[in-house]
Symmetry: C2
Amino acid sequence: MELDKAAICLAKLGNPARLAMFRLLVKAGDEGLAVGDIQKELDMPHSTLSHHIAHMITSGLLIQSREGRVLRCRLDYQLTQDLLDYLMKDCCKGLLSEETAAA
Amino acid sequence: MELDKAAICLAKLGNPARLAMFRLLVKAGDEGLAVGDIQKELDMPHSTLSHHIAHMITSGLLIQSREGRVLRCRLDYQLTQDLLDYLMKDCCKGLLSEETAAA
DNA sequence: GCATTATTTCGATAATAGTCGAAATATAAA
DNA sequence: TTTATATTTCGACTATTATCGAAATAATGC
């Protein structure tokens, strides 16, 4: 991953609402979560949540697919992985504790 | 690390200039880098760089210490480590590839 | 003290991000 | 074919961030 792309992704995660959403989506795994499910968990106005989701989509970290009336959100795991790789390998090479490396 | 703190740190890294600076500081290690050294590498106006440095300081990721006329910048490795731990363990538990975990 | 070097602070401006109600769109169900 | 549900888009506003020249501060050497 290039630095600029990594910066964009990190900026998207650098907001409490979006980082919380990201955590939920990691936990949700392949199944993902409906927007409504996220809304219930994060308890914010629909329009605000939608705005944050749009942010995540533009970065590519989040993928939406329609299932009837429901829009289901999933992480792009490959991109997420690439971002973590960038941070851990390229960016912080040698900075890792044994513990983190074994996480 | 708490989510809010992680979000603040990620937001600081979520800017190309600051992420580039972060990389330089990782590479520089304990020795750190003078502001002037960073400026030469990143080639931006002093005032702009200073602004970004101030951002990094408020997040706690960057520590400055004066050595004569020179201000030396170092990363707070513990905090950096805590942030990576947060992402890898708390946030992305189970999402790691073997490869990344072994980085 | 005065000039030099290193860096920040100030101040102004432009750009981006965050918030949220109201209206619009998409789909399904009655 | 109307009503209900899920979600987004619009519009307006406020707040934060980014940029950078000019002036200020801090330390050193003459």
